[in-house]
Symmetry: C2
Subunit: 448 residues, 2 copies
């Protein structure tokens, strides 16, 4: 048995009462067993004096494999962004390049206090993403993209239904529940119309039987949403017909959905992954999150892919999620408290992990982040709430310690088990190799 004691912190429990307590947390074998505790000895003791202690952040829409493409696709029209960057790049991914990209992503997320991510990868090499998460001690719900049907104009080569399903099933068998339960599989039909009816129905059935998440995109781009609806029914109506709506489905973006679609999401318990930075960067629009919350839809937050953000930073997304709705819905439409709930318990719920993570309560996994309060950009402290400071003021530079599953993975802002410069240089090398696999003239266009 291994024990860990976090002492003297200001603990934002994010429990249903939103209790903030000053005290200690006792952890045994990666599980919170007493909060607060009077125990004063453990195998490892961490002094959290002057620090805020929060549940680790949960980002529910990320593409680990795309981080390698960061900075190669900026200020472009969306069609070019996909056709001249993301699709061709993903198609020449190798095991090594997905691995390098996933390691870089996880490093950045951990540095921003993110302890869990729900991710959608590409058609191949998703085992490399699992390997990176496993080795780096990260908690993740990872899925291979499913594309057995695609719109005219989608130049990414898809797969036949059986191949697509079999790849997912194999990854599910190999990784789901592994690494002390840190790794999970999640089915990822890329968009509502990127999978056939047959595949959607099969995925819905298996996911329910196996208690596995389904993770897709819907309502991201106005023109695309209108085009997809022309196939016969709105995107969410279509998902409803396929029988996949429900508490184990997360849809990313949800910008252009109708009131009727909101009702379907609310009634079914389907979760929304809000991506505030990406929706601005790609000029997609502003999702009506306050309206969805008012209907009782669970909304969580994700950075999406680095090429459309360009960070994977929980603080950047929280601040943005708190600010973007105010001009449209008013200054009180999105409180700091609500945003912090979305980034913790909201994320845990969307990931299907709310019994394990998302708050600091007895019996939950020890996924924690310690934030240094003594920083100029979050002072004075005497008349402000720590919740306000976390959402509007703190930055990832203030993340001092990150603990996942009871293991300290970041200490004094530095990774404990892996070498940062090694991950950086490998990302440059892997991108260089990947670009060399592109055909001309795209390769020259990108390299310049």
């Amino acid at each position: 048995m291994s024990t860990l004691l976090i002492k003297n912190g200001t603990i934002l429990t994010m429990n249903p009462a939103m209790d903030i307590i000053h005290g200690d947390i006792f952890i045994e074998d990666g599980v919170i067993v007493e909060i607060p505790t009077v125990k004063d000895q453990a195998d490892q003791v961490i002094d959290a004096s002057g620090k805020l202690v929060l549940p680790g952040f949960v980002q529910v829409h990320v593409h680990l494999n795309q981080t390698l493409f960061r900075g190669t696709a900026d200020d472009m029209d969306v069609v070019d962004w996909l056709k001249r960057r993301i699709w061709p790049f993903e198609q020449v991914h190798s095991y090594e390049s997905v691995y390098a990209s996933a390691r870089l992503s996880i490093l950045e997320m951990i540095r921003s206090g993110t302890t869990t991510a729900v991710t959608m990868e590409t058609l191949n090499h998703t085992e490399a993403a699992f390997q990176a998460a496993d080795e780096m001690g990260f908690r993740a719900v990872i899925g291979n993209a499913i594309m057995d049907r695609w719109e005219a104009g989608t130049e990414m080569k898809g797969e036949d239904t059986q191949t697509a399903l079999e790849k997912s099933m194999q990854l599910l068998r190999e990784f789901h529940g592994k690494a002390n339960g840190r790794l999970h599989y999640g089915f990822c039909p890329r968009g509502t119309r990127n999978a056939t009816d047959e595949l959607w129905q099969e995925v819905a059935k298996i996911a329910r039987e196996e208690h596995v998440l389904v993770h897709s995109h819907a309502g991201e781009n106005k023109e695309q949403t209108q085009r997809l609806s022309a196939y016969g029914g709105s995107e969410v109506e279509y998902l409803n017909k396929m029988g996949v709506l429900g508490p184990n489905l997360v849809i990313a973006h949800a910008i252009w959905l109708t009131d009727e679609e909101h009702d379907l999401l609310a009634d079914s318990g389907t979760h929304v992954a809000h991506c505030p930075s990406a929706n601005f960067k790609l000029a997609s629009g502003i999702a009506p999150i306050p309206a969805m919350l008012a209907k009782g839809i669970n909304v969580a937050i994700g950075a999406d892919g680095a090429p459309c953000n360009n960070n994977l930073d929980a603080f950047v997304e929280m601040r943005r999620a708190a600010l973007i709705h105010k001009p449209r819905f008013g200054p009180r439409s999105m409180s700091a408290e609500k945003v912090l709930q979305m980034m913790t318990m909201g994320g845990a719920r969307a990931a299907g992990l709310d019994r394990e993570i998302g708050s600091l309560e007895q019996g939950k996994k020890a996924d924690l982040v310690l934030i240094d309060q003594d920083v100029p950009h979050a002072y004075p402290t005497i008349a402000s709430s720590p919740v306000v400071r976390v959402v509007y003021e703190h930055q990832s530079r203030d993340v001092d310690t990150v603990i996942i599953d009871g293991e300290v993975v970041l200490q004094n802002g530095k990774p404990v088990h892996f070498d940062e410069m090694d991950i950086l240089s490998q990302s440059n090398a892997a991108l260089s190799d990947l670009l060399n696999r592109l055909s001309e003239p795209l390769r020259s266009e990108v390299i310049g």
Copy 2:
């Protein structure tokens, strides 16, 4: 004579050709004398290997005295925000509290690579803001708020015309051009209708004669803008009648101006201070910056006050300035390059200091920021532009060195000449004293 050599950097000159050069910069007595240089000796040599070297950022709308109120006025309606926080707080400011607030502000700005700010203070104790800027080696255009006329409902007590003008004149005489030319005075009628016609006309005349900046607010809040226009003419038409439009006027926000007002700004060479975070936080709206740029208006950027942001961070504002216009104007409507120009030369122009700062060119003052490139959130680097990385990826945590007027004020991310913890603890103490000067029941409401 003192010499400084910056070696081996990747220099984003921000000159008219936007040249990026790899090389060295030679500085003599605070002035760039050779760029690039082959000189290899100097009194002080800084190794910029692996770093980006940029002109220091210029923020053109900041309230130094309000930083002390950070985190006390969040998610509030705008009217409450002013009436129950900002106005009563400013009225009980002391020399000590303005000084503590200015020191905290300047510390935060320097840590984000900001080397110059154009600021509007309150009705009293503005000499404390000058003292802080002087001691900390910061470059600033600082002004005392002028309020000799106010709308019904403005509960902040104003002053008579002669008192208001005399206070400004005294500060102008005492500080303008001091500290080797780092300190400047700027007249600050608080809003278009917070000064009488007489005072606006007098300020316009003196400012032109003395080559001094005028800095005010216009077009921030939709309802307020409509109300002000009802007095007889739009805000910018009014400023035009007062004879104050021109290259030595900066107006903050400019969200709700008409096309005709844009034309007046463009024709007169008046500058706009864009405050992207504050405009969202106070639910004010989104200024049509791409449309103003298309008319040839010079737009610069500022964080505004900490209570409506809550950071004073150049990177946060640049990223936001690049993102917020895309949903409305398209993904190519605001490029990283344009934003970086606004934060450097655009700011220098607005401040009236474009012959001194804003770019790294021979003869300019040595105001520089060195950014560490080897960070996970800005990798890979081999196929991305440094301009894109600065605007979309880097954060203030990456600021390694800041030089103002040839003096190194931040090194390895730490202040050289002042104690960070001292500034933090003094800000808490000063806020505590200030809150004790509030009358009840406000005091209890704020302290909780």
